[in-house]
Subunit: 227 residues, 2 copies
Amino acid sequence: MAQSDTVDRILDAAEELFADRGFAETSLRMITSRAKVNLAAVNYHFGSKKSLIQAVFARFLTPFSATAEAAFDDLEKSCNGKAPTLNQTLRALTESAVRMHQRSERGIAIFMRLLGLAYTQSQGHLRKFLEQEYSEPFSRFMGLLKEATPELSTVDRYWRIQFMLGATAFTMSSNEALRDILVNKMGVETSVQEIAARLVPFLAAGMQAKDPMLAPMPCDHESLAVL
Amino acid sequence: MAQSDTVDRILDAAEELFADRGFAETSLRMITSRAKVNLAAVNYHFGSKKSLIQAVFARFLTPFSATAEAAFDDLEKSCNGKAPTLNQTLRALTESAVRMHQRSERGIAIFMRLLGLAYTQSQGHLRKFLEQEYSEPFSRFMGLLKEATPELSTVDRYWRIQFMLGATAFTMSSNEALRDILVNKMGVETSVQEIAARLVPFLAAGMQAKDPMLAPMPCDHESLAVL
DNA sequence: ATACGTTTTAAACATACGTTTGAAAAATCA
DNA sequence: TGATTTTTCAAACGTATGTTTAAAACGTAT
């Protein structure tokens, strides 16, 4: 083997196992045995399990945030002066994610799953790491969302962004669990690109829903939500 | 003390700790020390940690599913013959959840957080347990959703339900992580009821979004999403 | 009071974890 | 080549986990 691909093999194995089972449920012995490297290799190359987790994120998050920022640049340039649409902003982000992992279909799924785990599992160190390492592209995305939804109050927008992130991360992070309980054999296999294509309109519509707190709920009134 | 409140004390402590830290990250020693009972009490009363996890879910899921089914009965009765609206169905569910835990504000938050963890954390036994124990009210809810969105194809509805569950579970299951990274001090404290009130219109609008796969994306076209 | 089933307790169990060690092996460079 | 650094390896370390044990304490009915 060329030089030391041990590091990459560890990252590959850790990435898949973390995505499948979570951080605490994945032991270093699982990782090293799947990667076919010695147990001590993790601590030698990464220092600790925590650092390995951060390295797994850094490996795909750094190029992704670069790609996303470039996509944001293009978007702002193409809509000269005017603020990009909500749909455009969302598409720019999802297409950046898809473009990143054009090689493997599984890559983008793992990508989303890990992002979901990052928030769900209580790994304080990971949160701090992501916060101080990728706060800039994140803030940029938030700014675009703000310009695309000027009609929303700050609080409404805050919560709806939470909802968007939730729908996205959770959908991608759900292993076969939901699939099984939802339908026993529906027989339809969907690619991640298709899921993204279905997700974006859902998110955009939810983001632009009429203000809450307005409609009372007498029976057989159709909801006030548009259409 | 009356009889043996040891069981309840264990359940209380486990519920909170699981909600705060997840299943794998919560040890029996944490639970028993918070509950102020002996370590062996868990295995004596529940048999194993897995059974304890299931018992925590059963304690709130059993009465909740009964309440929800009653709410569905009322809803179908009040809209005589006609299928309940999507908004009505969602409200019936969320209000059942809120009504369950009217005593403590924290109760409903823990409730949602645990549900989120149930899907997020890969506890195979939990999935099987929930599946075979609460499949009936779940299927009933699915049927109502189907009647409320007849315009959707089965596949579209399937994915949009995933999105809804995702937004809900993820929002409720996110500890302070998202809160912190999203806004550094926004100063607004929101109750779970308010979150639910904001969430329902978002979900309903997303669920009823115009069909995807229609709009191409040339620049400065406004999205085809309604409004 | 005594006997009996239930519950609690302290201690130990076996196992798995992340991490460290020190020597062997490989790679790098003089 | 020989010297030196980097990487691998098997083994062990200390700690924490879930679980089990056997005796003690308790409650209750005879």
